[in-house]
C-alpha cells in the first residue's frame, strides 16, 4: 500500500504529465508559437507572429504607402461582414490589366497565371482566431471608421499593425483575450463629436461561442 507522501508525489506526476505534454503536442503542428526568441509584438507582448510565406509576395507598402489606396478599397468585405475576406481575384485584375508598367514583374506574372487558370489564389490566414472566438469586423469598422471618423489605416492598425509598411502581412499584435479586453475596457467616444464614451462589451458570450 502506498504511503500518503509517496502517493502525493505520484499524484503530482500524474497531474503534470498531461500539462507538460500539451505544449509538446502542439510543437508537432505547423503553427509555431511566436516569432524568433525574444521578439516582441509592436504593443510589447512577447508573441510576434511567424513570417507567413504567401503564394504571391503581395507588397502592401506599394499599394498603401506609395499609391495611397484605402484598406477598404480591396478589403471591401470588412465593413459588410464578420470576416474581412480576401479581395476577389477580378478586383486585382480590374486594375492590373490596365497597368502596363508592372506587367513583367514576377509577382504580377503570377497573378496573371492564376487569372488565366481562373483559380483562386491560396492565400494563407495570418490572423486566424480559434473557432470558439467570434470577432466581427463590421462592428469595429462601424465604430472607429464611420462613427468616430478615424482614418482607415489607423483603425485597421489597432489590431493589424502598420500593414501599409509591410509586404505580406505578419501578426504584430498579441490578439490574445487579455489584449482584446484591455481595449474593450477603455473609454471610446461614441462618435466623432460627442464627449460621450462607452466600453466594448465585457460579456463572455459576446465573443465566445
Amino acid at each position: 500500500m502506498l504511503k500518503w507522501s509517496q502517493f502525493r508525489a505520484w499524484r503530482l506526476s500524474v497531474l503534470l504529465v498531461p500539462l507538460l505534454a500539451a505544449p509538446l503536442a502542439a510543437a508537432g503542428e505547423p503553427f509555431q508559437q511566436g516569432g524568433p526568441i525574444g521578439s516582441q509584438t509592436s504593443d510589447g507582448y512577447n508573441a510576434l507572429g511567424p513570417v507567413v510565406t504567401q503564394p504571391i509576395e503581395f507588397p502592401h507598402y506599394i499599394h498603401v504607402e506609395k499609391m495611397g489606396i484605402d484598406c477598404l478599397y480591396c478589403h471591401t468585405y470588412a465593413r459588410r461582414s464578420a470576416v474581412s475576406g480576401i479581395p476577389r481575384l477580378n478586383k486585382c485584375m480590374g486594375c492590373h490589366q490596365n497597368i502596363e508598367s508592372v506587367k513583367d514583374k514576377p509577382r504580377i506574372k503570377k497573378l496573371f497565371e492564376y487569372w488565366e487558370k481562373q483559380q483562386a489564389i491560396p492565400w494563407k490566414k495570418v490572423h486566424d482566431l480559434p473557432d470558439f472566438v467570434r470577432f466581427n469586423h463590421e462592428r469595429h469598422i462601424q465604430r472607429f471608421i464611420f462613427d468616430q471618423e478615424r482614418p482607415t489605416r489607423e483603425a485597421c492598425g489597432y489590431c493589424h499593425g502598420d500593414v501599409g509598411n509591410m509586404t505580406t502581412a505578419r501578426r504584430v499584435k498579441a490578439i490574445s483575450m487579455g489584449w482584446c479586453i484591455s481595449c474593450h475596457e477603455k473609454d471610446h467616444k461614441v462618435d466623432a463629436v460627442s464627449l460621450e464614451t462607452s466600453h466594448g462589451p465585457g460579456d463572455c458570450w459576446q465573443c465566445h461561442k
Partner: protein, 742 residues
C-alpha cells in the same frame, strides 16, 4: 479501490484534472494561428456573395415525399442550415426536424463516395466505367426471359418520367414503387368509395376533427402542411376541438383535447357506432342507403363498448359534438389500416364524413395538376410482396433499387434477403451503404439531396397545385458521386439515343422540361428568365380551386366488421410497431440529430423500447428498464420496458426504425428492428401488410438496464401538476364546445 489506498474522491480528482488537461491539449487551435489555414477566396463571385454572410437558395426537401419547399443558407460555398421556403404552399416557410437533419445526410462521414462492385463475394471499390458497363448489360433488352425491375420509394416529378421512359424503352420490364409505411389501403378505399386515391382534407376549415389514429402532426403524410393547418384550426375565431381515437398515443393524440384509447383494429366498429348515433338525427337519416343502415344498425352503444373497450357514453357525446359544430372532419391514419379488415375499417370511417355532410366543405378533390405525368405515385407493400414472390420463383433477371431499403423493411417471414440472392444482378443507388446495398452486386454512390437537381410533386395539395424545384445548395463533396437522373439518362441514351442525345446531362434535361412547362405558368417570360425564376422561387405554383368529390359508392360488404378475434393464449399481446416522427420507416436512423432528439412521447434517445401500460406492467411485475423478449410466431426482439400510460393495456408498442445491421456508424447496432417479427397478415381487399395485427408474448430476461431518456424519474408529470388533465369519464363532452378567443 480501497485496497490500493486511493479513495474514490482522490481517484475522481486525478481523472478529472488529467481529463481536463488532456481535453485542452486535444482541442487543437486554442490561440491565434498564422499560416496554418487558407482563406476562402474567390475568382469572380456573384456580386451578392460576401464572405461570412449567408445567402439563401431555394430547393426542395426530399427526406419524405411531402415535397416541402426549403431554403438553404450557404456561406463560403458550404450549406450550413435549412429553413422553410415561404413561397411554398406546402411548407409555408416552415420545416420539420426531419428536414433540418438533411444537412447531416449530406455531410455524413459514412457517405458512399465511389462505385462498389462485388468481386469474389465482397464489395470492392471500383470505377464508373466498369459500373456503367455492368449496368448497361443489365438493362439491355435481350431475348432472355425474366423481369428486369426498377424498385424505388414513392416517386414523382421528372425522375419518375425518366423511369417510366426506361420501362417504355424496354430497358426495364416494370417500375415497382415500395413504401414500408404505405397508405395504399386508404387509397384503395377512397378510390372505390369516392373515385380518388387521396382526397384533400382541410383541418383548418373544420370546427371539430375526429381522428382515428391519424398522426398528421407527427409522422403523417405531410406533417409541416398539416401542422400549419392545425395552427389555424386552433387559433381561429372558433378554436377547433380535436378528438383522437387510437390504440397507442401519437404526437397528434398528445395534442388532442380528448384522447380515447381503443382496442387495436376496432376503429371501424367505433365508427359504425357513431354512424348509428348520427343517423338517428332526422337530417342525417337518409344519408346512407338502407343496405348500409342495416349493417350499422346492430352497433348499439353497448355492443360498440363491448368490442372496442371504449365507454358507451362517449359515443353520444362525440356524436353531438360533431353534429353541432359542422363542418367537421373525420380522419383515418395508419392504425385502422393495419389489419386484415383494414379496408372495412377505413370505409366505415370514410362514411362518417358523408353522414356529417363534410364533403364539399372539409373533404374535397385535389385540383388537377397541369402535368399529370409528374403526379406522385404512392408506394405499396403489395408491390414488394409480388416482387418477392417473383424473385423466389426465379423470375427476376435484374433489379435496380433506389430510395428504399427493402432488406431492412421486409418482415422476416418474407425471406426477402434470401430471395434477392436468387436475382442474378442486383444494383442499388445509395448515399450510405444500407442493408439492401450490402446484398447488391453493384452499388452506386448518389449525390446527396443537397447536391442534386430535381422536381417533386406532393399529393393531397390543398392550396392550388405546386411543383417543387430542387437545386443543389453546394458543389458536390465527392467527385465520384453522381445524380440518379444522370445515370438513368445515360441508360436511356444507350437504349433510345434519338430521343435523349440532345441532353448532355440531367440538368439540361430538367431545364428543358421545366422551360417546356412555361405556357402553364408564365407564358410572357423568356426561357432563361422562366428557368431562373423557377430556381429562385423554388416552386412552380398555380392557383386552382378544389373540386367536389362524387357521391359515395359503398356496398354493405365494404363496411362489414368481422367479429373480433378471441384471446390468444400463446401470444396474448397485440404488437404496435409505432411510426415515430424521428425515425419513420428507418431511413432517418443514420442521422444523429434525429437519434439524439428525444422521441416526443417517451423522450427516449438512441434506442428502441417496449411501451407497456403501467397497469399491465404492474400485473406482470415489470419495472422500467426491465429487458423483455417480445416473441411473435415469426421472430423475437429484445427491448427495455418503458411504462407508458398512452397505450392500450393489451398492447405493446415498439418504435419502427432502429436495429440496423449496416447503415453507417450512427444507425448500426442501435435498438431492434421490430418489422422483422411481424406476422404474415394482410388486408383482405388490397393485400397490403397488416402492420398492427401481429400478436406477441412478453418474457422477462431478469436483466434491468437504464433507459436513456430526457424526462425525469417518473413519467406522470414528475408528480407535479404540470399540465392539468382529467380522466375522460369525468368530462361532459357536450359542454366541450369550440370556444371563442377574446
Amino acid at each position: 479501490m480501497s485496497g490500493s489506498g486511493i479513495s474514490r474522491r482522490d481517484f475522481m480528482q486525478i481523472v478529472g484534472l488529467g481529463g481536463a488537461s488532456a481535453a485542452l491539449a486535444g482541442c487543437g487551435n486554442t490561440s491565434i494561428e498564422s499560416g496554418a489555414e487558407l482563406v476562402e477566396s474567390y475568382v469572380q463571385p456573384e456580386n451578392f456573395v460576401v464572405p461570412g454572410v449567408g445567402v439563401y437558395y431555394a430547393s426542395t426537401c426530399t427526406q419524405c415525399p411531402s415535397a416541402c419547399g426549403i431554403m438553404g443558407r450557404v456561406r463560403e460555398g458550404r450549406i450550413l442550415k435549412l429553413e422553410g421556403n415561404p413561397n411554398s404552399a406546402i411548407s409555408g416557410g416552415k420545416i420539420c426536424g426531419l428536414g433540418q437533419a438533411a444537412v447531416q445526410r449530406h455531410y455524413s462521414p459514412d457517405r458512399l463516395t465511389v462505385p462498389m462492385i462485388r468481386k469474389s463475394g465482397e464489395l470492392k471499390q471500383s470505377s464508373w466505367e466498369e459500373a456503367m458497363t455492368l449496368l448497361t448489360n443489365a438493362v439491355a433488352p435481350a431475348d432472355k426471359a425474366g423481369r428486369r425491375v426498377i424498385l424505388t420509394g414513392p416517386a414523382s416529378g421528372h425522375e419518375q418520367v425518366l423511369l417510366r421512359a426506361l420501362v417504355e424503352a424496354g430497358a426495364a420490364t416494370d417500375h415497382v414503387v415500395f413504401d414500408a409505411l404505405s397508405t395504399a389501403v386508404a387509397a384503395s378505399v377512397n378510390r372505390r368509395m369516392f373515385g380518388v386515391d387521396d382526397p384533400v382534407t382541410m383541418i383548418d376549415r373544420a370546427g371539430v376533427v375526429l381522428s382515428f389514429g391519424d398522426d398528421f402532426l407527427g409522422a403523417g403524410e405531410s406533417p409541416v402542411a398539416a401542422a400549419r393547418q392545425y395552427a389555424r384550426f386552433r387559433r381561429g375565431a372558433r378554436r377547433g376541438v380535436l378528438v383522437q381515437v387510437e390504440p397507442r398515443m401519437t404526437l397528434t393524440g398528445a395534442n388532442a383535447d380528448r384522447w380515447i384509447v381503443i382496442v387495436p383494429g376496432t376503429e371501424g366498429v367505433f365508427a359504425l357506432g357513431l354512424a348509428r348515433e348520427l343517423l338517428q338525427r332526422k337530417e342525417a337519416a337518409g344519408s346512407v342507403s338502407p343496405a348500409l343502415a342495416a349493417v350499422i344498425e346492430p352497433y348499439t352503444q353497448a355492443e360498440v363498448s363491448r368490442i372496442t373497450g371504449v365507454r358507451g357514453d362517449h359515443i353520444p357525446r362525440i356524436a353531438s359534438l360533431l353534429w353541432e359544430h359542422s363542418p367537421t372532419l373525420v380522419l383515418a391514419g395508419r392504425y385502422p389500416q393495419g389489419h386484415a379488415h383494414g379496408s372495412q375499417n377505413m370505409a366505415a370511417i370514410g362514411m362518417l364524413n358523408v353522414i356529417l355532410q363534410n364533403h364539399g366543405k372539409t373533404v374535397m378533390r385535389a385540383a388537377e395538376l397541369p402535368f399529370p405525368q409528374l403526379a406522385p405515385t404512392a408506394g405499396s407493400f403489395k408491390a414488394l410482396r409480388d416482387l418477392n414472390e417473383a424473385m423466389a420463383a426465379g423470375q427476376c433477371r435484374s433489379i435496380l433499387m433506389h430510395g428504399s431499403n427493402p432488406v431492412y423493411s421486409a418482415p422476416a417471414f418474407m425471406g426477402f434477403a434470401d430471395n434477392l440472392q436468387k436475382v442474378p444482378f442486383k444494383a442499388a443507388w445509395v448515399t450510405e451503404l444500407d442493408e439492401t446495398a450490402m446484398q447488391c452486386d453493384l452499388v452506386l454512390p448518389l449525390l446527396s439531396s443537397l447536391e442534386d437537381f430535381g422536381t417533386h410533386v406532393a399529393s393531397n395539395q390543398s392550396d392550388g397545385t405546386e411543383i417543387s424545384i430542387q437545386q443543389p445548395l453546394m458543389e458536390k463533396l465527392y467527385p465520384q458521386t453522381r445524380a440518379f437522373g444522370d445515370v438513368v439518362l445515360d441508360l436511356l441514351r444507350k437504349v433510345k439515343p434519338d430521343s435523349y442525345k440532345s441532353f448532355p446531362d440531367y440538368y439540361a434535361y430538367l431545364k428543358s422540361a421545366v422551360i417546356n412547362a412555361k405556357p402553364a405558368y408564365d407564358p410572357a417570360a423568356g426561357d432563361e428568365e422562366f428557368w431562373e425564376n423557377a430556381l429562385s422561387a423554388g416552386v412552380l405554383h398555380r392557383e386552382a380551386s378544389l373540386q367536389p368529390l362524387p357521391g359515395m359508392q359503398a356496398s354493405p360488404e365494404m363496411i362489414h366488421q368481422p367479429e373480433p378475434a378471441g384471446d390468444d393464449l400463446q401470444y396474448p399481446f397485440r404488437l404496435i410497431p409505432a411510426v415515430t416522427p424521428n425515425m419513420r420507416d428507418g431511413r432517418p436512423a443514420s442521422l444523429p440529430w434525429l437519434q439524439e432528439s428525444p422521441d416526443p412521447l417517451t423522450t427516449v434517445v438512441w434506442d428502441s423500447w417496449a411501451e407497456l401500460h403501467p397497469s399491465t406492467a404492474r400485473a406482470m411485475q415489470i419495472r422500467e428498464g426491465d429487458v423483455l423478449i417480445l416473441a411473435s410466431a415469426h421472430g423475437s426482439v429484445r427491448a427495455k420496458a418503458y411504462l407508458f400510460p398512452g397505450i392500450h393495456p393489451g398492447a405493446v408498442g415498439v418504435p419502427i426504425g432502429q436495429g440496423h445491421e449496416s447503415y453507417g456508424r450512427f444507425a448500426s447496432n442501435v435498438g431492434v428492428n421490430v418489422l422483422k417479427i411481424l406476422d404474415p397478415i394482410f388486408d383482405r381487399d388490397t393485400g397490403e401488410l397488416a402492420l398492427y395485427s401481429t400478436r406477441v408474448s412478453i418474457a422477462k430476461t431478469g436483466q434491468n438496464e437504464r433507459i436513456t431518456k430526457d424526462e425525469g424519474p417518473t413519467t406522470l408529470q414528475q408528480d407535479r401538476k404540470l399540465v392539468a388533465t382529467l380522466a375522460a369519464d369525468q368530462v361532459d363532452l357536450t359542454k366541450e364546445t369550440p370556444f371563442v378567443i377574446r
